[in-house]
């Protein structure tokens, strides 16, 4: 029996390992991480690049006047103003003509003005098929569009919580370069860029049912602004199509109405632009871009990476007329005959390239973290016109103009390639999870090959003023150089995509599979060596009911609503078990008082959970707040203030009394008692601290005496650490002498509880008291549903799953009742600074973890032995009890693992859900951290108790 139990400690360790591996594998497939770098590009950086050092004289001689009149940053500005109209969730088939699709659908060909412009003769407009990178949610896409990078769910940076972008981005560069920005529409922009806009007209975006508020607000401000000259870049973000998709789907009349409305808006915008496009006009050299941030499925969902979601569109138009100069090698157009037999073409672009291309067009430095390249076709829309004017169209003709454009373009690409290479180098040096050295060397090879080519031949061609002779030779060289750069860009992007954006379904399924297997193993471990009881307990109503409760809770995670209200669901289930226990206790005519007190405690917890939910609703974008729980008492009523001040201190005093009773009743003496007395001292300090913080006791002077408000918390932490060390050493050196769990459990739990209570703040002591009372009731009610009293006596070591389920539900309720919820803004950052003023990452992270999981995991796992009823002290029963305790720990582990498995299954199924990054992924992170912590503590606890 002894060796068998010693092996059991290893079983707990084994499950910790299996769970860690499973979760690691799953997480590598699901949560992709990227480090945000704090660096910014500046205009002067470009002197480090190999592209310009000998380039300046050339430019000065050929187009000197423009260089002197306007200060040049990285590239020569080619457009003056840009209007970006973002139509949220714009599918490609909303814009592209229906001939590009297998069959025409009612929602196609509604934005006729864009088609008309793009396919007119000698047009300076083009329709692009734009590819977005998942996650295709608006926030991540806007981040991607402006930074030119690939945002992932966890962009590890210093902006935990606040969504504002700290990475270098296009908007930031515009501001640095003195451009003036105007924004209207979706308020996500103002969240991302709180200070950058000179003027902004944000409208709330989260009410999906409202199709018109944002759009009407946009339209109202858009037209007057177009006539003004106090901006350089205008952003208008319309949300109607996205909302119509979410509510009605794509094939619906509200959607078609929205598209028709947009068509008339765009028509009006283009009319205004064209009326002002003459020489000297307001929009002489303006570029209009109409784009979607992502696509949507026919049901209106987006977030994932299916073709429908990532394929969106971009329409670009320059107010200057010109012909295209892009050499056919770099033309990505796909063409179709339309019904009139006319050839119509649409090009394609990656959204990744948006930031770099627009930076080049406006002549500002590229965002530091951009990995896109300048799209030749979009760049040509702006720059061709400039080039034609500049080099004198009359003499050269299109052939030579194209060559001139290519020279310019290859120069810009050189800067672009240098910037991307710089970012990749810096990233892999400074990131925790950088790229592998193989990948890095491959990219470096490509870059240096292109660079070699550049400095050997192309640079000389560009410097050569008489580029006329052997023009075919030169254009072939230029084309080769462009191709080399494009090759470099595509391999960088490919590498970044595989690291940063793709779900790896194989890894996810493998991780899930391992977890399911471990679940089965753990389930077997619960009943291992327990054959005689197994059948009996399996068939008992208690076991069946436990299974029912755990299954319901696991299934509830499949719906986002139940995840949002998880605390309420757990409380509902806990109260249900309480009611069942009440029925049994009435039936057996025992413990009715305990059953009632348990239900009362559950009611208290639910009030606390409600308060937590209202806090959550204040920040969550998915919940509406429901102030219905509020009692009709004025918050500053004097009696209430007194109650709020006194109740926590009173609870601490009661806790001290409980500890005193516990140690005075215990039969054995020794170290355990002294440890418990240490906790009583800690509690006394906590009460003293709170009393001195409140005004009503007149103990203000106390803080000065003790030396600042940090002294007491630090003392409490030190006492806790000393207690834990004492307990561990006692356990190691005096093993097996003391067989009484109760006092050992009390010692350990009390040692852990004082820091937890301290950090949880004033509600902490009351919650600890509620936890204690509810736990006591669970212990008393354990086995109340057994047939008869004698039956329970004789077979006391039979495992009772229902009480473990209750304990586990209680711990979940405690998590929510102590004001937490499964989101990063649900962490109580303030708690990490109880007792410390300055920030040290490791220390504060440990404190925050203890605070977050203190009640729900640390105290619950260590306190589990309190549920073992104290019936007999005979030595032979002790072995049985150890076995039972082991089973209880395994069962507690199974329950936690079941819920985590359900969460993981749900995340896998819902990985394309609208709320996957807002709701499911944070829930996943919290659950997974909780499970690992539970396993770890079960290991420690079984080492300590068994």
């Amino acid at each position: 029996m002894e060796t068998y139990l010693n092996n059991k400690k290893l079983i707990a360790l084994g499950f910790l390992l299996i769970h860690s591996i499973a979760i690691l594998i799953f997480t590598r497939g699901f949560l992709l991480t990227r480090t945000e770098l704090p660096f910014h590009s500046t205009c002067s950086d470009v002197s480090l690049s190999p592209c310009f050092a000998s380039q300046h004289p050339n430019h000065d001689s050929s187009s000197g006047q423009s260089n002197q009149t306007q200060p040049k940053c990285w590239t020569k500005p080619v457009v003056d103003r840009v209007i970006i109209i973002v139509l949220d969730a714009l599918r490609i088939d909303f814009v592209a003509p229906s001939v590009f699709f297998p069959e025409p659908k009612p929602w196609m060909d509604k934005l006729t003005i864009l088609q008309k412009l793009a396919f007119a003769n000698r047009s300076s407009a083009k329709i692009f098929k734009a590819f977005a990178d998942p996650p295709t949610t608006s926030l991540q896409r806007l981040k991607g569009l402006t930074t030119g990078g690939l945002p992932t769910f966890i962009d590890v940076g210093n902006s935990f919580g606040a969504p504002a972008i700290v990475e270098d981005n296009f908007i930031n560069q515009l501001v640095l370069n003195g451009k003036r920005l105007v924004m209207m529409g979706d308020d996500t922009w103002t969240q991302l860029f709180p200070n950058q806009f000179q003027k902004s007209y944000p409208f709330p975006s989260f009410n999906v049912k409202d199709l018109d508020t944002v759009d009407n607000g946009c339209i109202e401000h858009l037209f007057p602004t177009l006539y003004e000259d106090d901006w350089d870049v205008l952003i208008a973000h319309f949300l109607g199509v996205d909302h119509a998709g979410h509510i009605y789907g794509v094939d619906s009349s509200p959607m078609i109405n929205k598209l028709e409305q947009y068509n008339s808006v765009l028509e009006k915008v283009i009319n205004i632009l064209e009326s002002q496009a003459g020489p000297g006009g307001l929009h002489e050299n303006t570029m209009l871009i109409v784009m979607g941030d992502h696509g949507q499925t026919l049901n209106g969902d987006h977030g994932g990476g299916t073709a429908e979601e990532v394929e969106t569109t971009m329409f670009a138009m320059s107010t200057k007329k010109h012909t295209t100069l892009v050499p056919p090698e770099f033309d990505t157009s796909s063409c179709k005959q339309n019904t009139d037999g006319k050839q119509i073409c649409i090009s394609s672009i990656e959204q990744l390239d948006f930031a770099a291309t627009l930076s080049a067009l406006l002549g500002i430095s590229f965002p530091f973290g951009s990995i896109g390249h300048i799209n030749p076709e979009l760049y040509a829309l702006g720059s061709s016109s400039w080039n034609l004017d500049d080099s004198g169209l009359g003499n050269f003709g299109t052939q030579s103009a194209a060559k001139e454009w290519m020279k310019h373009f290859v120069n810009v690409l050189c800067v672009n390639a240098w910037q991307v290479k710089r970012y990749i180098d810096v990233y892999s040096n400074s990131s925790v999870v950088g790229f592998s050295s193989d990948d890095m060397s491959r990219i470096s090879d490509l870059y240096s090959a292109a660079e070699q080519n550049w400095s050997n031949s192309v640079k000389h061609i560009l410097m050569d003023k008489n580029g006329d002779e052997g023009s075919t030779d030169i254009s072939a060289l230029l084309k080769e150089q462009i191709a080399a750069y494009l090759n470099f860009f595509s391999s960088v992007v490919e590498l970044a995509r595989s690291k940063w954006t793709e779900f790896n379904l194989n890894l996810m399924i493998t991780g899930f599979g391992i977890l399911v297997i471990s679940l089965i193993l753990q389930f077997l471990a619960v009943f291992h060596g327990d054959k005689s009881y197994a059948v009996g307990s399996w068939l008992s109503t208690g076991a069946a009911f436990s299974l029912f409760i755990v299954t319901i809770r696991a299934c509830s995670f499949l719906s986002n609503s139940y995840i949002l209200e998880e605390g309420k669901v757990a409380n509902f289930l806990l109260a249900t078990t309480g009611l069942i226990k009440l029925r049994y206790s009435v039936m057996r005519k025992t413990m009715r008082k305990e059953a009632f007190i348990f239900l009362a405690m559950v009611s208290v917890l639910r009030v606390s959970i409600d308060i937590g939910l209202t806090k959550q609703a204040a920040t969550s974008q998915f919940m509406s707040s429901s102030p219905s729980w509020m009692l009709g008492i004025a918050p500053d009523h004097p009696a209430l203030t007194y109650a709020v001040e006194i109740a926590p201190i009173l609870s601490v005093v009661i806790l001290i009394c409980v500890l005193y009773i516990a140690i005075s009743k215990a039969p054995s003496e020794g170290l355990w008692k002294y440890v418990t007395i240490g906790s009583m001292v800690s509690y006394f300090f906590i009460a003293l601290l709170w009393a001195s913080e409140s005004k009503i006791f007149g103990l203000d002077g106390l803080l000065q005496v003790t030396g600042g408000r940090n002294r007491i918390p630090q003392t409490v932490y030190v006492i806790g650490l000393v207690q834990l060390c004492l307990l561990a050493s006692t356990r190691m050196f005096c093993a097996g002498k003391d067989k009484n769990w109760a006092i050992r459990t009390v010692a350990l739990v009390s040692a852990c509880s004082s820091p937890v209570v301290l950090m949880s703040g004033k509600q902490g002591s009351m919650l600890a008291l509620a936890h204690l009372v509810a736990g006591y009731c669970i212990m008393r009610l354990e086995g109340v549903e057994r047939r008869t009293q004698s039956d329970g006596q004789s077979k006391f070591s039979k495992l009772n799953p229902l009480c473990v389920v209750q304990w586990s539900l209680l711990s979940i309720c405690m998590f929510f009742a102590s004001g937490h919820w499964c989101a990063f803004d649900g962490l109580r950052y303030g708690a990490a600074f109880v007792g410390f003023d300055e920030f040290v990452l490791v220390r504060q992270a440990i404190l925050l973890t203890i605070e977050t999981f203190g009640f729900s995991i640390i105290l619950s796992v260590f306190g589990l032995p309190l549920l073992v009823p104290i019936h007999s002290q005979t030595p032979q029963a002790h072995g049985e009890k150890r076995h039972q305790l082991f089973q209880m720990y395994m069962l507690f582990g199974v329950i936690s693992a079941t819920t985590v498995t359900a969460t993981i299954l749900c995340v896998t199924i819902q990985r394309r859900h609208l709320m996957v990054w807002g709701l499911f992924a944070p829930k996943f992170v919290f659950d997974v951290v909780g499970l690992i912590l539970t396993d770890l503590l079960i290991c420690l606890a079984s080492a300590y108790y068994l």
């Binding site: 559950v602 009030v607 219905s628 729980w629 509020m630």
Partner: protein, 228 residues
């Protein structure tokens, strides 16, 4: 043991016994009054459960309570010792205490608390009390042994106890399941407290009545077979 008990029941039963048909007619009358209640609320007060839950619930239990008391007091235990009016009186006490118990259960399960929803919770508890506790108080009175045997130990004897026990449990379980759609984000008006819980309770009660009727018929056949 069980057989012995069942055989003994007709002798020790001192109340009025009722046939399955009688039980059916009782259910029919109470159900009819519930329907009348809904009709009155809809056509005279022009509200329904969704638009004004507290008024609707109040009218429902006020209409339903007398008929339940009138019928079940006829079926009271020990009719010779306990007068009809005493049965009525104690069922009023039962109504109030039952409402308290139901409200306590609902609050611990998560019913909204606060001034806004207080009237709804109160009237819902009264309605639940009419479904669950009032028939039992009318029949059993304060006889704790009967209560304990029927409700806690689930050992009903005779048709009347089936009529009390099974619909009451049905209403509670139905209300429990009725709470499940409440957190969903469908934003339908019936997801408000206590609309769907009421529907659940009424549905559960009806299911319980059907189950109890079929049990009565089945057990009678069983008994007849046994006797034959």
């Amino acid at each position: 043991m069980k057989e012995a008990k069942k055989k003994k029941t007709p002798e020790i039963s001192i109340g009025v016994s009722i046939s399955a048909l009688g039980a059916f007619s009782v259910y029919l009358i109470t159900g009819l009054f519930l329907a009348v209640g809904f009709w009155v609320i809809h056509n005279i007060y022009f509200v329904d459960l969704i638009s004004d839950p507290s008024l609707t619930l109040r009218l429902l239990w006020i209409i339903e309570f007398p008929i339940v008391v009138i019928i079940y007091s006829l079926l009271r235990r020990n009719p010779e010792k306990c007068s009809y009016f005493r049965a009525v009186g104690r069922s009023i006490v039962g109504l109030i205490s039952g409402a308290l118990i139901n409200a306590f259960g609902a609050v611990s399960l998560g019913a909204p608390i606060g001034m806004q929803s207080l009237p709804r919770t109160i009237h819902w508890s009264f309605l639940m009390s009419v479904f669950t506790v009032v028939p039992a108080t009318a029949v059993f009175g304060a006889s704790w042994t009967d209560w304990h045997r029927v409700f806690a130990s689930l050992k009903p004897t005779g048709n009347i106890e089936y009529m009390i026990l099974i619909p009451a449990y049905g209403a509670i379980i139905g209300a429990w399941f009725g709470a499940w759609p409440m957190p969903l984000d469908w934003e339908r008006p019936w997801q408000e407290w206590p609309v769907c819980v009421c529907y659940g309770a009424i549905g559960g009660c009806i299911v319980g009545q059907i189950v109890s009727l079929s049990l009565m018929i089945l057990l009678r056949k069983h008994k007849n077979l046994k006797l034959a």
